[in-house]
């Protein structure tokens, strides 16, 4: 049995019967939660079980054949988003499907629903469909195009049904996006927030890669005598360290870092495109022609067709190939050393600028090229530091989101901070509080509230938080118990008394 990882998405196999599957109480809950969109982590969250348990269970269920696991989740998972809101691709359908009775074309209906559903996940740039470095003119033009399409006046007197209010919401958001992005200070502030968010996302990806032991940038296996770094690898290094010009540090262009982390995971390695012999021959020709510097990688697939293979005897070819292999390996080792050195320097430079993200990134690349234990231990050290920075960033982000009353986002950020410091009861309580304010998943709020109380049973504040969660959830008895304990801990607290009066009334 293979156990899927938590970011994979199980789905039903059409035509298979459910009764053939084991149907214990837990299994049934899990089965109910499978909708082809939720990842295992999301399902775990929904049913309140651990992700490992769910993975185990789904692994067992797939054996029955009614469930299949997608090889990899469709889009790269966005680590920042709260697991309660699975980031499945926006679907148009269900109850909101195309309504032919409305005076509005089907594609526009679909677009409206799509935008409306995604509105909370789109940043200002994405909503207007402009790049992050778009100038004021481009932003304005995008907004005007948006208005010409989605403003309800463009459909005046038509039957828009429930779409009218949705269009108003969408247009309202586009206006906010335009207004923020066309004011210098507001845009700068928003960009700072976005870059902070991107940074945490990038970090998250980095750290989870390290945690899972996933090789984002695998060293080339020694047997594959690829003479040149393949397209799947080198561009990463190039992107991080351009061949010329000053180092790009993360905060300067956060979008770029994010992209660099995500891309390699998805991109297939072209290693198997050519068989080894063809490759060797191509290499031989190229080295023979003195074109060692043309390490542009991408030219490989095209090379054989550009120059027709030359006829050589077997021995001649073998000797030449061996010589070339040795030459190549020397060269490769040198190149690796140089690369490691460059990465280390870049890492140091980033450290000097207190850019831990950049530093960790470069060190991570550096350890791919060297076995030096000092470098490896430094990498671990920086990774640890990165974790702390990440933690700080999440806390900062959470507080900003809290101040903006974006409870969903705040809950997600606090939850991330909680992952870094699972023993911090304060953070657990903050997660609980934010989830309660969001009001969508009170069970999860209760779990965090309980955790905070468990870590620090003598805090009346934590108990009040938990009590409030129970109260919201309608679990009055539990609320009463928590609040009574809280009152024993702080007998003078008027708020607790008030809440208790309310609870008792509700019970009576």
């Amino acid at each position: 049995m293979t156990i899927p990882s938590s970011d994979q998405v199980p789905r039903w196999v059409a035509g298979r019967d459910v009764p053939g599957l084991p149907t214990g109480a837990f299994e049934r809950m899990v089965l109910d939660a499978i909708d082809g969109q939720r990842s295992i982590a999301a399902i775990a969250d929904l049913v309140g079980l651990g992700a490992e348990d769910v993975a185990q269970m789904i692994g067992a269920l797939t054996a029955g054949g009614a469930i299949t696991i997608d090889p990899r989740p469709g889009p790269a998972p966005r680590p920042f988003t709260s697991p309660t809101a699975p980031t499945a691709p926006v679907t148009v359908g269900g109850s909101d499907a195309f309504d032919p009775s409305l005076d509005i074309a089907a594609p526009l209906q679909a677009r409206i629903l799509e935008l409306f559903d995604a509105i909370d996940t789109l940043d200002h740039y994405a909503l207007l469909g402009v790049p992050r470095d778009a100038d004021r003119k481009a932003i304005k033009s995008a907004y005007y195009g948006f208005a010409a399409k989605f403003h309800t006046d463009r459909h005046f007197g038509k039957n828009l049904g429930p779409l009218k209010s949705k269009m108003e919401v969408i247009f309202g958001r586009a206006t906010v996006a335009h207004d923020v992005l066309s004011r210098k200070e507001q845009r700068a502030e928003y960009d700072r927030y976005l870059s902070e968010r991107d940074r945490t996302r990038a970090y998250e990806e980095l750290l989870s890669a390290v945690d899972e032991g996933r090789e984002l940038f695998p060293t080339p296996p020694p047997r594959v005598a690829t003479p040149l770094p393949s397209a799947g690898r080198l561009p990463v290094a190039q992107a991080v360290q351009p061949d010329s010009g000053p180092m790009k540090v993360a905060p300067v262009n956060p979008a770029r870092i994010t992209a660099d982390f995500e891309r390699p995971v998805e991109r297939p390695l072209p290693a198997s495109v050519l068989d080894e012999r063809t490759r060797k021959e191509a290499l031989a020709r190229r080295l023979g022609a003195g074109r060692q510097r043309s390490v542009s990688g991408t030219t490989i697939p095209g090379a054989p067709s550009l120059t027709p293979p030359r006829k050589t005897s077997v021995e001649e070819g073998k000797a030449a190939a061996d010589a070339i292999k040795r030459l190549y390996e020397d060269r490769r080792d040198n190149a690796r050393k140089a690369q490691a050195q460059r990465m280390l320097e870049a890492g140091e430079a980033a450290l000097a600028k207190e850019d831990v993200v950049g530093a960790a990134n470069h060190y991570r690349l550096a350890v791919q090229y060297t076995d030096d234990p000092a470098v490896h231990s430094k990498f671990k050290q920086i990774s640890q530091k990165a974790r702390e920075v990440l933690f700080d960033a999440y806390m900062k982000q959470a507080r900003y989101e809290e101040s903006q009353a974006k409870w969903k986002e705040a809950a997600a950020s606090y939850a991330k901070a909680h992952e870094a410091h699972p023993d911090d009861a304060d953070i657990a309580a903050s997660v609980a509080q934010a989830l309660r304010k969001e009001g969508r998943d009170l069970h999860r709020a209760a779990r965090f509230g309980e955790l905070a109380v468990q870590k620090n049973p003598n805090s009346s504040g934590f108990r009040v938080t938990l009590g409030a969660v129970y109260l919201d959830a309608g679990l009055f008895l539990r609320a009463k118990t928590e609040l009574e304990v809280a009152l024993r801990l702080s007998p003078e607290d008027a708020k607790i008394k008030e809440l208790l009066v309310h609870v008792r009334k509700a019970l009576a």
């Binding site: 005007y144 195009g145 403003h151 309800t152 005046f156 108003e168 309202g172 009353a405 304010k437 008030e498």
Partner: protein, 608 residues
């Protein structure tokens, strides 16, 4: 497709326009004028007069002639602006049953919306006569700085006039639409609109995709041409007082003549350096001796009398640009709207402030109606690629503890929009909260306009500040405001759609609509009667003219004599009906008259 008319319901003059073959055009009234005075009068006989005929008799019937009703529409009787109007108006302004304003004419009281409706109805008739088809939909303009109550009252006036007001738009915005429509411009424009009663300044951006985006708007609803006139009147009255020791204000008729003369002089001074005001027999002295008023006023005198008024408009412009974080250099063109912008002093001041000569391409009296017609057409026919992104002219919010005002949607926010904020209770064990929805820019709630109120009940009993209530404001593209309040703990929710109050109740409005409809039918009927009467008279005259000739031609035959006898009878009966004013009788005889006339014409033609 049904045509939508655009109406500029002005303080002193109104104008109606329609989009024809893709181009907006002003519709002239029966007198051939493109604008119609916004005046309504009731004659001694109880007849309603609107427009030029009302203006012509204003001097002799000052107490029953309403001008500048727009200054009163949607206002509370207790407001200082209404107090001010009472002091300067010859007609009687009285308090209505809901603290609103009513106007008393010949022992009958009218709502202000009813008076405005008479003007709107006139504009509707002008359009119908021109288009030769009934019109039921209109876009009406209001000063940008009108609050929701004033807008609602204007909408009510439209309803009374039998118009479905599909949208109320702001005058400067309408002017910008007319300025930029179909020209494929991309620029930022300031519209300076100084009309008869109100001043508005709006800054708009005209961009790609036919988008007109209002960036900022501000103004003063009690600053306009009337105030300039008042300064001239004051100057004349004071001079007269010094000379004769008589206060001309005591005599309503004299005051009305002064008003006309002041307005005329002000207009003339836009073209000449000086002009004479000549009002013979303005008043009689105590000793039975008639006194005359005769004075020369120069442009310099007018400028100095009104310099502070002009300065006020410039201050508002300055403030508006500052609020919108716009520099003067970012304004690429300045459009002048409203009759007052013909005054050289104003053109100079505006040019000086913006650092550029104002645009000369638009007609200040017609441009607003043209813009309204454009917006109407764009709404009804979406092939016209144009979309107007308007803003809220005033901050919307609620009253909080200590009668403070807390704004949720700031002024100059593009609509549609929505905003939420969390409030808490202000008293211990408070179980209900009253949400007072207000509009205005003052921190103190009572200084702002109350739009509506509702109560959220069933709150958890708790110490003050413990219960959280989320208040959400929403404005849709039609300008309709919805407010909801939600108890964050219990999820209890209350919401209202704020219907601004025009000062009229639903029943009152309903009755007014019915009455106006009835009157309209009557008016249409009497117009028809008038037309048949004229037709009958024309035919009678023709027959009479041909009679001797026909009689001579057909005298030889019996049949002919018979026919002329019959014709004589028809003629006599028709004449009687006309003389009696018997509309039904006239109609009855029209056909016979027509037949007779045709026969007479035939006889004469054949023999000549």
């Amino acid at each position: 497709m049904e045509r939508v008319i655009g109406i500029d319901l002005g303080t002193t003059n109104s104008c109606v326009a329609v989009l024809e073959n893709g181009a907006p055009a002003v519709i002239p009234n029966r007198g051939g004028y493109k604008t119609t005075p916004s005046m309504v009068a009731i004659t001694e006989a109880g007849k309603k007069l609107v427009g030029h005929i009302a203006k012509r008799q204003a001097i002799t019937n000052a107490e029953n002639t309403v001008f500048a009703a727009k200054r009163l529409i949607g206002r509370k009787f207790s407001s200082p602006q209404v107090k001010n109007a009472i002091a300067t108006s010859a007609y009687r302004i009285v308090e209505g049953p809901h603290g609103d304003v009513r106007i008393s004419l010949r022992n009958k009281t009218y709502g202000v919306a009813e008076i405005s409706a008479m003007i709107l109805q006139e504009m509707k008739v002008i359009a119908e006569d021109y288009l030769g088809a009934p019109v039921s939909k209109a876009v009406i303009t209001v000063p940008a700085y009108f609050n929701d109550n004033q807008r609602q009252a204007t909408k009510d006036a439209g309803a009374i006039a039998g118009l479905d007001v599909i949208r109320i738009i702001n005058e400067p915005t309408a002017a910008a639409l007319a300025y930029g429509f179909g020209k494929d411009l991309e620029r930022t424009v300031a519209v300076y609109d100084l009309g008869g009663g109100t001043f508005d300044i709006s800054v708009l951006e005209i961009g790609a995709h036919g988008v007109f985006r209002v960036i900022a708007t501000a103004g003063d609803t009690f600053l306009g041409g009337e105030d300039f006139d008042a300064r001239v009147i004051d100057w004349l009255v004071e001079g007269f007082q010094q000379e004769h020791n008589i206060d001309l204000r005591q005599d309503r008729m004299a005051l009305q003549r002064l008003k006309d003369a002041a307005e005329k002089a002000k207009c003339e001074l836009s073209a000449t350096r000086e002009t004479e005001i000549n009002l013979p027999f303005i008043i009689s002295s105590g000793r039975n001796e008639a006194l005359h008023l005769q004075r020369v006023i120069s442009r310099e005198v007018l400028d100095s009398l009104c310099s502070d008024l002009v300065e006020r408009t410039v201050d508002i412009c300055r403030q508006t640009l500052q609020d919108a974080q716009l520099g003067k250099e970012e304004i690429e063109d300045v459009v002048l709207v409203g009759g007052m912008t013909r005054m050289p002093r104003i053109i100079e001041q505006v040019a000086e402030f913006f650092g550029r000569e104002p645009c000369k391409g638009v007609h200040p009296d017609e441009v607003v109606a043209l813009g309204a017609a454009i917006q109407g057409a764009a709404l009804m026919d979406q092939k016209t690629e144009m979309v107007l992104l308007d803003v809220t002219p005033h901050t919307l919010g609620i009253m909080t503890f200590g009668s403070n005002f807390r704004g949720l949607i700031p002024q100059n926010t593009t609509v549609p929009t929505s905003r939420s904020e969390i409030f808490t209770t202000s008293r211990d064990n408070q179980t209900a909260v009253k949400i007072l929805v207000m509009q205005g820019e003052h921190d103190k709630a009572e200084e702002n306009e109350l739009l509506g109120e509702f109560v959220l009940t069933g709150l958890r009993k708790a110490a003050k500040g413990q219960v959280e209530i989320e208040v959400t404001f929403e404005i849709n593209a039609d300008g309709i405001v919805s407010v909801s309040a939600k108890d964050m703990e219990t999820g209890q929710k209350q919401a209202i759609q704020v219907t601004a109050s025009s000062g009229l109740t639903k029943d009152e409005l309903h009755n007014m609509i019915e009455a106006a409809q009835g009157e309209m039918l009557e008016r249409r009927a009497s117009e028809e009667d008038e037309a048949s009467k004229q037709e009958a008279q024309r035919l009678i005259a023709e027959i009479e003219r041909l009679f001797p000739q026909v009689e001579q031609i057909v005298a030889s035959s019996d049949f002919g004599r018979d026919a002329t006898e019959k014709a004589r009878g028809i003629l006599q009966r028709a004449r009687d009906a006309v003389a009696r004013g018997d509309a039904a009788g006239i109609k009855e005889h029209l056909e016979a008259l027509g037949r007779t006339a045709r026969m007479f014409r035939g006889v004469v033609q054949k023999t000549s």
